[in-house]
Symmetry: C2
Subunit: 114 residues, 2 copies
Amino acid sequence: MPVELTPSQALGLWHAVSREQVRVDSRDLTLRQMAILLEIYLVPPPHSVRGLAATLGVTKPVITRALDTMGALGLVDRVRDQRDRRNVIIKRTVEGALYLEKFGDLIINQGRKL
Amino acid sequence: MPVELTPSQALGLWHAVSREQVRVDSRDLTLRQMAILLEIYLVPPPHSVRGLAATLGVTKPVITRALDTMGALGLVDRVRDQRDRRNVIIKRTVEGALYLEKFGDLIINQGRKL
DNA sequence: TCCGATCGTTACGCAAGCGTTTCTTTCAAG
DNA sequence: CTTGAAAGAAACGCTTGCGTAACGATCGGA
């Protein structure tokens, strides 16, 4: 089920959502952090640091730092993989799910207003 | 002409666009910078520092700094208002228009893939 | 038991954004 | 003129993210 947008709608939607998000949320997640967060919540687990790094085309420390920050905000969690203890499994949290749910509502509502 | 999105489509669109933007563009504009840039290009001029600050609910230095950064990238320009020389008028640039045009295409293409 | 490879983290110096405060220029009302 | 307000920029110290390089822990095959 594709979404067909005109150029005006596409940029208008991004504009409205960005503006409202800036107005509402003092937590200013970077584009990278947001991309990581969405990857974790929208793609089936498990998620690893190296996997996210490869998917987004960034280095591993970028992922580690983003997880540090978002972990402190309660948006994600990390657990050692007991089957291969070199790995870290990235976990979703209730707070993170709520955060994205609210963000999705913002997108939907701004889309309706276009 | 509203845009009707399901929660899955809304977050899926943001996810896909963020991911591709991270992969493609090393210029990592913050959400605030992006909101300012879109405001300048989508809302009829003239634009002033104080006006943008009020619209986005941030302080003036935030706007000044964002304009410094995006000005250095060639995405916006600043000109003194000759009618009231206290004001600065923020101008669009060809490069900025191209940047947003490409970004709009990215949104449209990712929307189609949902 | 090694020992090289892999995974995630940490350390380093640097660049950029933040909020608050202060400054400079300019305007306009008295 | 003088003076108070307004607009934008600059200064301050701080925090956070960056890329690169090095590190410790862990695995798995020789």
